[in-house]
């Protein structure tokens, strides 16, 4: 936390600069691959490389044709429509289920809390390909394989752990005596939940929902197994695109998705901070 002090030893000075260097390297490593994609998506040629014109900042080297392709090509439009239909529904399910699970598991009288928690979190830990294969066989048996609801359920299962984790974290700071206070004032458990508990844990619910949405929106492995051609999502289309045609349209799509993600994240973070401010720090 502290900056350089007049009494800092040479080792501390070295660490002060070394620490910043390490941080910078980490950020470069994480962000550079994403940043490279953005200018490339405006490439006028059909290659994944920076052309001479681009490097010379010649306007002729840039074009919006890949974006044009994305917004007019029916393959991409179907994929986009599928993603937009699947992700919100999966988010809704995982947010509702994850929030309820977190509230239930935060109650001390629930037996086997650790084991239940571990089971619910497992989709996050188990290798995705294993979950996907398992879901494929299971969903085939019960007729969910290759259906819209099959993909939604699979994505909801993947998103729920994020909601459970964020809501559980918010519940740690939740003052249980508020529930008792509401009861003493005559509110039944449902009213207490809606009027008292829910508004206070909303920031955690929103964060969890955001993660769940991004999980579904970016997911490719499970949808390849569980979905059929009519559930082809954006990541799936990108994956096939990469394998079969290597069109820079993928870069345009990626840029659009990154932008959407950043906008979503920013808006929700602003909302979350606002509700956290309203919630105020718990008295005392």
């Amino acid at each position: 936390m502290s900056g350089l002090q007049p009494y800092s030893s040479p080792a501390q000075v070295a660490w002060y600069y070394g620490f910043r260097l390490i941080c910078a390297l980490i950020f470069i490593f994480l962000i550079l691959p994403i940043l490279v994609i953005i200018p490339l998506s405006f490439n006028a040629s059909d290659f994944f490389t920076f052309t001479k014109e681009m490097l010379a900042l010649d306007p002729d080297g840039y074009s919006l044709k890949h974006y044009n392709d994305f917004f007019t090509n029916s393959d991409w439009q179907t994929a986009l429509a599928n993603s937009v239909r699947i992700a919100p529904m999966a988010t809704l399910l995982s947010t509702a289920l994850g929030t309820l699970a977190a509230i239930g598991l935060s109650q001390s009288h629930v037996p086997f809390r650790g084991a239940i928690m571990a089971a619910l979190i497992s989709p996050m830990i188990v290798p995705l390909i294993i979950s996907a294969a398992g879901m494929y066989f299971f969903y085939s048996r019960i007729g969910l394989q290759g259906t819209y609801w099959g993909v939604v359920l699979a994505h909801a299962a993947l998103g729920t752990p994020f909601v459970i984790i964020t809501v559980t974290a918010t519940l740690v700071g939740f003052d249980r005596s508020l529930v008792r206070a509401a009861a003493s004032l005559g509110a039944n458990p449902v009213r207490t939940f809606v009027k008292v508990q829910m508004p206070l844990i909303l920031p955690g619910v929103i964060s969890g929902g955001l993660f769940a949405f991004v999980t579904s929106f970016d997911e490719v492995v499970v949808v390849l197994f569980v979905g059929s051609a009519s559930q082809k999502t954006l990541p799936w289309q990108m994956f096939t695109g990469l394998r079969e045609q290597i069109s820079p349209t993928i870069l345009a799509v990626a840029t659009v998705m990154v932008t959407v993600s950043i906008l979503l994240l920013t808006t929700l973070e602003i909302l979350r901070r606002r509700s956290e401010r309203i919630r105020g720090l718990s008295p005392g």
Partner: protein, 364 residues
């Protein structure tokens, strides 16, 4: 008041027991009546079972055994939100996302009261706790004392017959605590609501209560008005817990007409009221309040010699610690007046007291 008819009781605990683990009883066979309009305090050290009793009454903890009656209705099977009991919590438990007015309106909305009536009630309740201008603030914007006032107002705004308070002043500083003690006491007197108050602070209990139930080890040690508890403790625990107490250990020599002759450890024989001391030959603890011990008295039935160990000047009185019999912690409060002999550390002086001020109790 003491022998009122059964229907004047607002709360009745009948053989109530509570165990959390199924083995140890936290509350052992509690029988307690709270009279209508009474301010009853449950006082005791932590772990004595007082808060558990309050939680059972509020409905947040089930009684393991026995029955609690609210106005003659058994309430063991009534959930907390249907009991209609107001409650003030130790940490205030105000809803942080609601304004003060919304906090107060909450119990009224729950009861389906129309908006105009609710607003009038909220306003009146805020005036009662002297915070009418704070209705638009959020709890986090209020000081601790103001939050506590809001919590009290919220517990009273729906006009319950009974309000429970769980160490509500514990988090406040000393001056504010004393101010709030009087304020709560006055609110109680004005509204005529029954209050069951839990605290571990004996001065708080003595200031506010009509009656105090002293808890220890899951048992009510004594249930009495404040002055009775202080002046006539039934047992050694109450004598030691309420106020300052001098204890002298000894053996009962004889008991007659309610007066025990006691041979003190360290020499000397004194007389004391035989309250809970057993028969001749048994050990007893004598209890005498520091302000009832007099210095250099010739005509007292009980006279001993004490060696002054420490003198602390406190303005209106001088606190004198001395060695008396086997006790090195014998304290005498000497009034600051010319009539009293000057005491010096290291000197011996005669002390005495009247038999009625000394109580022979059990040895703990």
């Amino acid at each position: 008041m003491a022998d009122g008819a059964a229907d004047e009781y607002i709360v009745r605990f009948e053989n109530v027991q509570k165990s959390y683990d199924g083995e140890t009883l936290v509350v052992k066979n509690l029988n307690l009546n709270v009279e209508a309009g009474e301010f009853l305090t449950m006082l005791g050290p932590s772990g004595s079972g007082k808060t558990t009793c309050l939680m059972m009454l509020a409905g947040f903890e089930p009684a393991t055994h026995g029955e609690i009656y609210l106005k003659e209705t058994p309430i063991n099977k009534v959930p907390p939100h249907k009991r209609g009991i107001g409650m003030v919590f130790q940490n205030y438990a105000l809803f942080p996302h609601m304004t003060v007015a919304e906090n107060l309106a909450f119990p009224l909305q729950v009861r389906g009261m129309n908006k105009a009536d609710a607003e009038t009630k909220v306003k009146r309740a805020l005036e009662m706790v002297q915070l009418p201008q704070m209705s638009g603030r959020r709890p986090a914007q209020l000081s601790g004392g103001q939050q506590q006032r809001v919590a009290v107002a919220r517990a009273l705004v729906f006009e319950p017959d009974l309000v429970l308070m769980d160490e509500p002043l514990g988090a406040l500083d000393k001056n504010l605590r004393e101010e709030m003690q009087f304020e709560i006491k006055h609110i109680h007197e004005n509204l005529g609501v029954s209050v069951v108050y839990v605290t571990h602070d004996q001065s708080e209990a003595l200031t506010m209560s009509n009656r105090i139930a002293v808890f220890d080890d899951g048992i009510i040690q004594q249930l009495a008005a404040p002055e009775v508890l202080y002046e006539k403790p039934d047992n050694a625990f109450v004598a030691q817990f309420i106020g300052e107490n001098n204890k002298l250990l000894g053996t009962v020599k004889s008991v007659s007409d309610g007066v025990a002759k006691v041979d003190l450890e360290g020499g000397g024989t004194v007389e004391a009221l035989a309250i809970k001391c057993g028969a001749a030959g048994e050990r007893t603890m004598l209890s005498i309040r520091p302000e009832r011990v007099l210095i250099a008295q010739e005509d007292m039935p009980n006279r001993l010699t004490g060696k002054v160990v420490e003198l602390i000047y406190l303005g209106d009185h001088i606190r004198c610690r001395m060695e008396v019999a086997a006790s090195k912690e014998f304290v005498v409060k000497v009034p600051n007046s010319h009539a009293h002999a000057a005491l010096r550390v290291g000197e011996e002086t005669a002390i005495g007291w009247v038999t009625e001020d000394c109580r022979a109790l059990d040895v703990r």
